[in-house]
């Protein structure tokens, strides 16, 4: 497929890796923010390709994983309300909350439907005028505009029974929170490619400026990631951290202004709770007052028991990059994709799921 296959050339990847090895003299740790990058790094054996002095550490870029247990509990409680249809992206359905999951709620009779797009959720609302259709709005800046578009569409088409539970989160503020905590030393960040299609490269500029950490925005094919690593190594070796775009076919410095306009129209920035991190100021998106009729938080109230975290699960540490999945005692033994304890093993972007699927690979896979 065009724009994919040509960035998967194995021979070129090996030559690029050699070039990186020749340039790299320091022992460094890079964090790939995005769960999609973690999966690509493991799937294509990037860790085996780059020198052993370059550590690739997974970060918090998995929307399902960072959704707080209390918010999951709320989504499950909403699903049990009479007359409600909960619509959600597929990854969310199996994530265990404190006492249940959306999947269990569905088995108990709640109407929970997986959708591919927010467009589908609006269509379900249109087709079920007597029911309240709630979309569980998770995602980063890549997805938030699509959720905003669904609210605008519902308003424009006078669909009165569509609601969004906005759990959207923003990436630069949580990067700041991680860097401020100082828990894990990071020399460079592989910045998220599709988040950056929307926000551009400017919102990361505080990172090299205030923290001296290198940044490069990466695509998701193996050559994209190696190009990004090369740029990060170059910045670190020179001692000149900055923000570079290593995914220029998709990302412009200014991002996608139209998408951001729609997002800003519907949402305002507020605090958000992140699993494993806690409350991060200015890192969440709430529905603005002028669209309050679509806000599930305002329209419905549910009683929640105090949240409880799964015992022994180190998902929070994995999200912060403090631990790798194999460092969790439950990993592979108790916690597997068939019987996940925490969300990092459930989501297709979760670091634990990636390590489980590809972690044993010692050699570069064919790609």
């Amino acid at each position: 497929m065009k724009f994919i296959d040509e960035y998967q050339d194995r021979k070129l990847a090996q030559r690029l890796a050699r070039k990186i090895a020749q340039r790299s003299t320091k022992t460094i740790r890079l964090m790939e923010f995005c769960g999609g990058h973690t999966h690509a790094v493991l799937r294509y054996g990037i860790r085996q390709l780059v020198p052993k002095t370059i550590e690739m550490r997974s970060g918090p870029g998995c929307p399902v994983c960072v959704t707080a247990t209390v918010d999951l509990d709320k989504a499950i409680a909403l699903a049990h309300l009479p007359g409600v249809i909960v619509t959600t992206f597929g990854d969310m359905i199996r994530v265990p909350g404190s006492y249940s999951s959306l999947q269990k709620a569905k088995a108990e009779g709640a109407d929970v439907r997986i959708v591919y797009s927010t467009i589908d959720a609006v269509e379900i609302a249109r087709a079920n005028p007597g029911r309240s259709v709630i979309f569980i709005g998770i995602g980063f800046e890549t997805t938030a505009p699509t959720i905003a578009a669904s609210v605008l569409r519902a308003k424009q088409e006078k669909i009165q029974n569509f609601y969004v539970l906005s759990l959207n989160k923003l990436t630069p503020p949580v990067m700041k929170a991680l860097l401020d905590s100082g828990e894990v030393k990071i020399d460079g960040i592989v910045c998220p490619g599709h988040v950056s299609v929307i926000i551009g490269s400017h919102p990361y500029e505080f990172i090299p400026r205030d923290y001296g950490v290198a940044c490069a925005i990466s695509g998701f094919e193996p050559l994209d990631i190696l190009l990004c690593v090369d740029k990060l190594v170059e910045q670190i070796e020179r001692g000149e951290p900055k923000v570079e775009i290593a995914y220029s076919r998709g990302v412009k410095p200014e991002g996608n202004k139209r998408a951001r306009q729609l997002m800003d129209d519907v949402f305002e920035v507020g605090e958000a709770i992140w699993r494993g991190i806690g409350i991060v100021p200015q890192s969440g998106l709430k529905i603005r007052g002028r669209y309050k009729q679509f806000d599930a938080d305002r329209a419905f109230s549910v009683n929640l028991k105090p949240p409880k975290e799964p015992k022994g699960c180190r998902c929070g540490d994995v999200i912060r990059g403090v631990a790798t999945p194999p460092e969790c005692k439950l990993f592979r033994k108790v916690c597997t994709p068939e019987s996940p304890v925490g969300p990092c093993m459930v989501s297709s972007e979760g670091a634990c799921a990636a390590y489980y699927q590809y972690g044993a690979t010692e050699d570069l896979q064919d790609f």
Partner: protein, 75 residues
Amino acid sequence: MCLAVPVKIVSIDGDEAETEIAGVRRRVSIVFTPEAKVGDYVLLHTGYAIGVIDEAEAEETLKLLEEMASLSEVH
């Protein structure tokens, strides 16, 4: 979640476009990419085109990758 794939626009109808990838056709929203034209490739994320792929930049990156890789042969 942040997955997006390049698809080719085959026709446009208002805010929507018919796209194609590997023989599979799909109708997508182009509300975020009003500049998209027939023949362009867009990044498709959950039913929406979130950006138009810059073909010149794509070529440029491939050239750069080749050049960088050839540098590693010199040593």
